[in-house]
Amino acid sequence: MLEQQLINALSLGSVYALFALGFTLIFGVLGVINLSHGAIFMLGSYSALLLVDKLAMPLWLALLAAMLVAGTIGLVVDYLILKPLRARNAPHLIPMIATIGVAIMLTNLAQGLFGAENKRFPFGTIPEQSFNIGHLHLTELQIAIVGISVLLMLVLLVVMRRTQLGRALRAIAESPKAAYLLGINVEGLFYLTSFAAAALGGAAGVLVGLSFNAISPFMGQPMLHKGIAVIILGGMGDIRGAMIGGLFLGFAEVLTVAYISSDFRDAVAFGLLFLILLVKPSGMFGKVLERKA
Amino acid sequence: MLKFNQISKNFGGLQVLSDVNFSVPQGGIFGLIGPNGAGKTTVFNLATGLLRASGGSIDFNGQDLGSIPPHRITELGIARTFQNIRIFKEMTLLENVVVGMHDHLDYGFSGLLFNLPSFRRIEAAARERALELLSWVKLDHKAAMLADSLSYGEQRRLEFARALATKPKLLLLDEPVAGMNPAEKTELMVEIMNIKQRGFSVFLIEHDMRFVMGLCDRVAVLNFGRIIAEGPPDEIKNNPEVIEAYLGKEEDE
């Protein structure tokens, strides 16, 4: 029984990790807590739904297209809203408040456009196959989710650790001013990061949408809260932290629901958040609380 | 007055200060000099309680500063200015200085709630005193202006006045003349001498040799986290170790 829960936890945790990755990327590189990440996640989900429903796109293509759409939205938000605030050197909380505004707008617009009720993927589009290994029950979907999440995370890790681009991003994360003086195209990389982070968020949205087969304008909100818990747990701006934190949360939630009560599922994330903030606010891997200019 | 006893400070693996011993006497002007990165600002941060020493102890007038929080250390009589000026930009000059008097405004909650005479009297006295302190640094004519509108040199002087407002016994000045032109430096030098006459003790960090040698009664030299010399300016000037410590660096003064 426990092993089965672990499978479920792995699947859930990978998506949490994927979502948190985008979130933590934006914080690490741009220095902004982008509270519209949840709304972008939700729009990624709707994009895939629409593409599959209206254009009969195959699922894998819809995923890629949804990532593209989400990434573009993220880029636009950065260009229109975060960029002017960067130019003004606004204190940290200001961009965060602006992204709250974006989140509300996008959520409300989605509600107006698509309706508030849960939508499902068209019959037959979600892979139904499942396998039984020993007494473990695995669905093709779960495998795909874990596989895709892990793939995207690996790509991100490789880029960050082993490429020139990754080095540049890490330099910016340390100090944008210093990076600029080193000749790095800081502004351009900000755009790229916003795009990539949003794309990851969109991917997470598609995977969650498939996983629960329920897409609503409000699905971004609880996800955002969990994302916050994960990045604080793992250390803000730390990629390893987001991944491990996401998995940790997945496990904590699944085990809580299985062994305590499903009522408290949503409270798990915040319980952990509180605990970590009291004990080690910088999170599991975070080192720097204050970012240099 | 302020005694550093075998103070050491490390950040993780980085040893910033080791076996630092010196004593700032009462009623004089004491200078701390040393090449960049020697650990001078760390000394100030330790004295004001912003950092805790890794080893050793700091005494102020016989009292161990141990784990006393910064605002209480200020109450005990140590005030400081900052290397990279930390004035309250969106407040007026007058308000900036009045904040310094925070601890000495003895009215209770009911006083401020009901606008009692005691409240009004204390507030008015505070403003007057603030104006007086501003006049010491020749900024009283700008009292109602926003601190943000001041020039760099003026902001330094404002910080100085604000530190004085806390009724300190010992004033810690962190590079008080950095970025000032020669005329401003001379003015501040005169002002610090006046402060000494008024009974304050001064402990300052500076790079400007002429300033330090001309002003201080005693000087200590910090290099790589260790005190390599301490004594009157003339001795220090001719100390071979000190000269060597500075020879490696390009000092523009």
Partner: protein, 289 residues
């Protein structure tokens, strides 16, 4: 004439009450913002106050003022307890922690029997009258104005400007932050208590993240340089949905848009004394030519 007034009042009394309550809420977040703290917990504190006051009114014979007092004291106590550890955190972390706290409260209330679970409390006696709200709002404004003019207000401003420098000027920063947090919680709690007693029914979803954001929007929109800003912000944003009734569906989107526009173009909100002053200076200069 009297008939018209009675008709008007029957329809719009809730709106007028709403202005008063929202003004208090906006002021409650103003208190913490004036100290440099972004607290997204005030909706939760409002909820705690509302539930406390309502449960007292419904389950005991205690008079209304006592219920309201409980509505102030209970959130204040909670704020005191969670404030001590969480206020050590800076800016963004604090905002996240308060957001988290708000959610935890909501989930707890959602699942408790005595608070009526997801259905909330129904049948709260209608005790709030216009003069209650007017009086308490006036008292709040007076209290905050006096605090502003005193060393407490200056300490807040100093902490907001530069916490470290404030500490070194002798300001007991942790104590003052806690005071601002607790005061904000108490004000929000009273507003909640007042609100509960004219809305007849309350539920956990009245005090969720969206509501915390609403409160923040009102304060930021109005401007947080002084007390007038949040009051005006609350008034306009309470009236706006009435004016824009046909756009009811997109009211939230409009809220979001307002937040964005204000942050981008009116960083100090609508009521920004400095901008207004500069505007008049320029007009005068223009006229003198």
């Amino acid at each position: 004439m009297l008939e018209w007034w009675e008709g008007f009042w029957a329809t719009y009394s809730a709106v007028v009450y709403g202005i008063g309550v929202n003004a208090m809420l906006a002021l409650s977040i103003y208190v913490t913002l004036s100290c440099g703290l972004l607290s997204l917990a005030n909706a939760a504190f409002m909820g705690i106050g509302a539930y406390a006051a309502a449960m007292i009114s419904m389950n005991s014979g205690l008079p209304f003022p006592l219920a309201l007092a409980a509505g102030a004291v209970l959130p204040a106590l909670v704020a005191l307890i969670i404030g001590i550890p969480t206020l050590r955190l800076s800016g963004v972390y604090l905002a996240m922690a308060t957001l988290g706290f708000g959610e935890v409260v909501r989930v707890i209330v959602l699942n408790m029997e005595i608070t009526g679970g997801p259905m909330g409390l129904n049948g709260i006696p209608l005790k709030t009258e216009f003069w209650h709200i007017a009086l308490l709002l006036a008292a709040t404004l007076y209290l905050l104005a006096r605090v502003r003019r005193s060393k407490i207000g200056r300490a807040f401003e100093a902490i907001k400007a530069d916490e470290v420098a404030a500490r070194l000027m002798g300001v007991n920063v942790p104590a003052y932050k806690l005071f601002a947090f607790v005061l904000g919680a108490a004000i929000a709690g009273v507003a909640g208590g007042l609100n509960a007693h004219y809305t007849f029914t309350i539920g956990p979803n009245n005090y969720a993240f969206e509501n915390a954001v609403d409160i923040l929007t009102m304060a930021v929109f109005g401007g947080v340089s002084n007390l007038i800003g949040p009051t005006i912000g609350a008034t306009i944003l309470t009236l706006l949905p009435e004016v824009l009734r046909q756009f009811k569906e997109f009211r939230l989107a409009l809220n979001g848009l307002i937040l964005i526009v204000v942050v981008l173009y009116l960083p100090n909100g609508i009521w920004d004394p400095r901008r207004i002053h500069a505007f008049w200076q320029r007009r005068k200069a223009g006229k003198d030519q």
